[in-house]
């Protein structure tokens, strides 16, 4: 067989030998190369192996960094602070922890709202939009229920709406119709629900105009 045709086979054998040789020679004195004789070739091999290893590490780093989220967490990793953002960290939470988290979130949202400056014209116009959307005439057309204890206050970007319903079914459907009705003025909303032992429900809605959310992050 011509010598050239043997090259690939010899190359593979040599590759395996390099790995075995370097492994065995790992703890030996530098003057004893895996192939004996000249030290140049093993040194080159070692350098290339190290270069290869560095490339593998670079790839792993790249792979890992591309998988972390904006908080630097790997997928499925619980959040670093607080009891957890259950929707994103996917960590289990007790009912008490969820209630505490909701209370804390409402406090945070309310603080932002009360600190928002007042834009009188926009606030008055938005409050009229909300009142119209939740009027009997508007809701009756869609078969939705008029809420009780309606209160709405608007500042410069956000409106806080509080309303009550006899049960969750009424609340849920009215919410759907309501959000559609105010969508052109207030397209974004964070909705909190307080469920009472008698089955009644209170909604707390923070509805805001487009792009107002950008400042929240």
């Amino acid at each position: 067989m011509p010598r050239l045709q043997l090259l690939p086979i010899l190359a593979i054998v040599a590759a395996v030998s390099v790995v075995i040789g370097l492994t065995l020679a790992g703890g030996r004195h530098r003057s004893i190369g895996p192939f004996g004789g000249s030290q140049t070739a093993p040194d080159e091999a070692l350098a290339q192996m190290m270069q290869t290893q560095a490339e593998i590490l670079r790839r792993l780093d790249r792979l890992e960094s591309s998988r972390v989220d904006r908080q630097g967490r790997l997928p499925g990793t619980p959040p670093a602070t607080g009891p957890g953002r259950a929707g994103n960290g996917h960590n289990d939470m007790s009912a008490a922890a969820i209630a505490a988290q909701q209370a804390s979130a409402i406090r945070e949202r309310e603080n932002k709202f009360v600190n928002e400056p007042l834009a009188a014209a926009w606030a008055a116009s938005s409050e009229r939009t909300i009142g119209k959307a939740l009027s009997a005439a508007s809701l009756a057309k869609e078969g939705a229920t008029v809420p009780r204890n309606l209160e709405s206050t608007c500042h410069s970007d956000t409106c806080r709406i509080s309303m009550s319903f006899d049960n969750e079914q009424q609340a849920d459907f009215t919410k759907v119709v309501f959000l559609e009705q105010i969508g052109e003025t207030l397209p974004q909303a964070d909705i909190f629900q307080q469920s009472n032992p008698d089955g009644s429900v209170r909604y707390l809605v923070y509805a805001r105009r487009a792009n107002a959310g950008a400042a929240r992050r």
Binding site: L10, A11, I56, D69, N88, H90, G143, P187, Q188, G213
Partner: protein, 176 residues
Amino acid sequence: MSRHIYFVPAVLVFAIGLALTPVRQAAAADSKGISATACQPFLPTTYAEARFQDNAIYNPTAVNQRVICPVNKDYFGDWVAGDVTLQAYIKAGASPGKVSCTLYGGGASWGGAQAAYTATSAVVSAGTASSFSIADIADPAVPYSIEGWNVLCTLNAGMSLGGFYFVEDGDTDGAT
């Protein structure tokens, strides 16, 4: 010739093999179509009132009808405003009409918060197709207790919903 000459091709074989080894990385963005037939009627709308066709849902009645459709999030972590867009394809029947869609995340009755993003199309002329988008979508600044996003659309009389194009411009698993 020294026997060390065989060492060079060996290293080359190893290096080439390494270079050709595919490294699976997370996708930088994920865009997908969502068929309208993934939707379901949202009560009190029934299947008779939201008529499913081979490529759309049609409202054959004279009043508004609603459907709700799943939106599968592939993003790693929180959505940030500007990274996510949901575009709805619609068509008017014999008379002009509009479609309004609200994207919901989380559930208000499950604790935490529920996020809602609404957009309404312009009036679409009779017999013509159009589209509109819900943009500036972000995970709520407050937490919610369940994962899961849905889009709930209200179709005026005679309007059809053909589906959605959903873009997550960020690190995703690239899955459908």
